[in-house]
Amino acid sequence: MGKLLFEWDYSSYPGAQKYPHLFKPIQLGNLTIPNRIKYAATEDNLNGRDGFVTDAGVGYLRERAKGVVGGLCVMQGVYMDEKRQGQGYVGQAAAWDDKFIPGLKRLADGIHEQKAIAGCQLMHCGRVGGIETEYCQGPSPVPQRLRIFRPVEVMTKADIKQCLKEHIEATERLLKAGFDYVEISGIVGYLLSNFVSSYANRRTDEYGGDIRGRMRFVVECIQEVKKLCGDVPVGIRLCAEELLDDVGGNTPEESMITYEMAEEAGADVMSVTAGWQESIYPVISRDIPMGNWLHLAERAKQHLKIPVSMAYRLFTPDLPNKAIGEGKLDIWEMCRPMIADPLMPKKVLEGTEDEIRPCVACNVCLARLFRDAPMTCYINPVCAHEWDPKYEIKAAEMEKNIMIVGAGPAGMECAWVAAERGHEVHVYDKRDELGGSIIEASKAPYGDDELYGHITFTKAKAEKAGVEFHLGTEVTPELIEEEMPDTVVLATGPKYVKGTAPGFGRENVVSVLDVLNGKAQVGDNVVVWGNLKPGIGVALFLAKQGKKVTIVGKEKKLGKDINPSFLWRYVGYLRQNKVTAYNDCDIEEITDDGVIVMTYDGYRIPVKADTVISSEREANTILKDVVQENSIELFVIGDALVPRNLSSAVHDGYRIGIRI
């Protein structure tokens, strides 16, 4: 038995019985981790632009440390050079000088306060780095596929030596700051992975050539860091599959050689990763099924004696529990599930899984980082505000009787928060079930069923907080006057509208909701009016059934309400399913044969269609007047206020919930 930093006894918790493999100890080097849970390193752009740790960063990590219930909590990867060549994000933490130690210590202490194991990470971003410089560094001058990155400056042997030295010095500082575990990041196209890959490393010196040559830098790095760490375990993250076969990247066999070499060099644990930022294949978005990459962990286990950990769409505890039980994995890592719900594994342990706020794998967290903005979460309004008391759910100063009209995501989010604060909350919906238009949205293909998870979560929270539901009840002015609540929250969802062009009154013009819930008949040639998410969702839903679908939308750009880190998936699927999109266009007329599309500059294109689907929305002002006439406090949230997306609905709901 290795060194145990904190005592944890999980035996009395329901989660430990349900998922026994997740709550048993494991040894990394000489250190015993009480469970199999790891919060994976997560860049958050919450540090100062000078690399110093901030209150926001400490608050963020402390909450995740609470979540791992004694497990491993790893801070984001730090850059290690004063020239900032290795820096990949404007708000990345730095460790190139002793002046950063106090801030780093705050992070380690914050993790320890929660009786969790404090992990740190070294991360030179290589060919995707140099965010504040004119260039980035890499083994060879191979240009990146995407323009956002800097031109690559080839590292000389002196540069490599210097970089190695910086890894060692940063490790020293991180150890001084009190971290218990050191990880070296060699993932997604960062420096170490650049050296390893036959795509990015075309050197002919001893740091290039065959896979052994390309691994030399990584091996030296592990050996040097390990020497310094002594009893502190050292982990490494390396690709099991780079998913770069289109540009001549490593074979899976070569990747397994890198694993064996890393173990030989002294790594105490292998964190298995997949894909690069430059890969053309999706890896972690919602369209990739959960558990899709577990076979890579299993493959790693066949090549290694050291423990194997892995994240990558392991969003529910049953998957890692089973994999660990079957000897295919040792440690369950999570990044985005714990961005969405920092206490996710704690809730698993405590048997309150239905209260987990589920990540919808939209990758807006990443999109924000790439746009130099602090991290936010699509589904978790508190993310990156953990330090800010304004975001806390505090008991209400005056208890109110609140009527929430609409049981969609905005109404549900608002309901549970307000009820938890002590208000009496009544949720009304004319439908017989909870969810509002998320019911239909979650019928779209490519993983959109996961969107409904928010309703499952809010339902559990609302029921626990004592919210009363009045389903199948349409709220009328009379009902409001009869109930006379203190506050009305209108979360009715948007008004789905038809256009004013001739022909919109025809019988073959149907609503997006009716199509998705199977109430409308749809022909083989379809025009979808509206080029935002609802239009894209229904277009894919029908195109997958073999229909010929054309999208016509007024927005200049398709899917402007979808973040770019997910939009490329939809665009790919639209192309794959042969959906045509006319953006910056409108429907001029619906005729017997189809529609006449009018481009922004006046050209007219006839498109054959037997069904036209309207997915355009407007704000919904229904009931507003009666509430105001009766001097009742009024809030309008979600799409009823301004039609946007699920995220805005959730954030609106939360913000009003903590304010009422």
């Binding site: 191979v142 240009p143 076969d245 289109d246 540009v247 007329e589 006449i596 007219r604 294109i605």
Partner: protein
């Protein structure tokens, strides 16, 4: 109101030709600006050729997302040839692709190209027009080669500006590094 397709297509086609003409004019107007700015010691020929090199490099960079080795180097050669063809079409040229005798070469033929006429109109030499185009295609290819570690080359065998009636270029896999 019914659509008159002939009217829609003919006005779109006119607009397309208009914008192709505007693109060529803009190039030469920018070239003029660069010549004036560079002063009397600079050779307009060098400026024109350099401009084409920059355009080729940048165009190559923007095409990287579409370049890959999934169908091997032969597939890549065809990707590049098609890219040249598509780019030429947007400029108003007509280009045909023919496979060579061996697997390692493709012939690309510009059956018509409006650029030499524009060069004449703006007082640029045929030599500049030809070398500019060569540089443009080479710079594009260099970017692809650097990205994928390949060694594709392109050579000009016939050229409209030299009076050959067509531009014929050979895209091939070079053995020497």
């Amino acid at each position: 109101m019914a659509v008159d397709p002939e009217k829609e297509i003919s006005s779109l086609w006119k607009a397309l030709q208009g914008s192709q003409g505007a693109t060529r004019r803009t190039f030469y107007q920018m070239r003029e600006a660069a010549i004036e700015f560079a002063g009397p010691d600079a050779d307009p020929f060098d400026i024109g050729v350099k401009a084409w090199e920059i355009i080729g490099k940048d165009t190559g960079k923007s095409y990287l997302p579409r370049m890959n080795l999934l169908k091997g180097e032969d597939g890549l050669m065809m990707n590049v040839a098609r890219a040249y063809q598509g780019l030429a079409a947007t400029n108003g040229a007509v280009v045909k692709i023919e496979k060579g005798e061996g697997p390692n070469e493709i012939f690309i033929k510009w059956e018509r190209c409006p650029w030499p006429t524009s060069a004449k109109e703006f007082g640029a030499s045929m030599k500049e027009d030809l070398l500019g185009c060569d540089k443009y295609l080479e710079a594009f290819l260099d970017e692809v080669n650097e990205f994928l570690g390949t060694n594709l080359k392109i050579e000009t065998q016939k050229a409209i500006p030299s009076g050959d009636g067509v531009c014929l270029r050979r895209l091939y896999k070079s053995e020497d590094k």
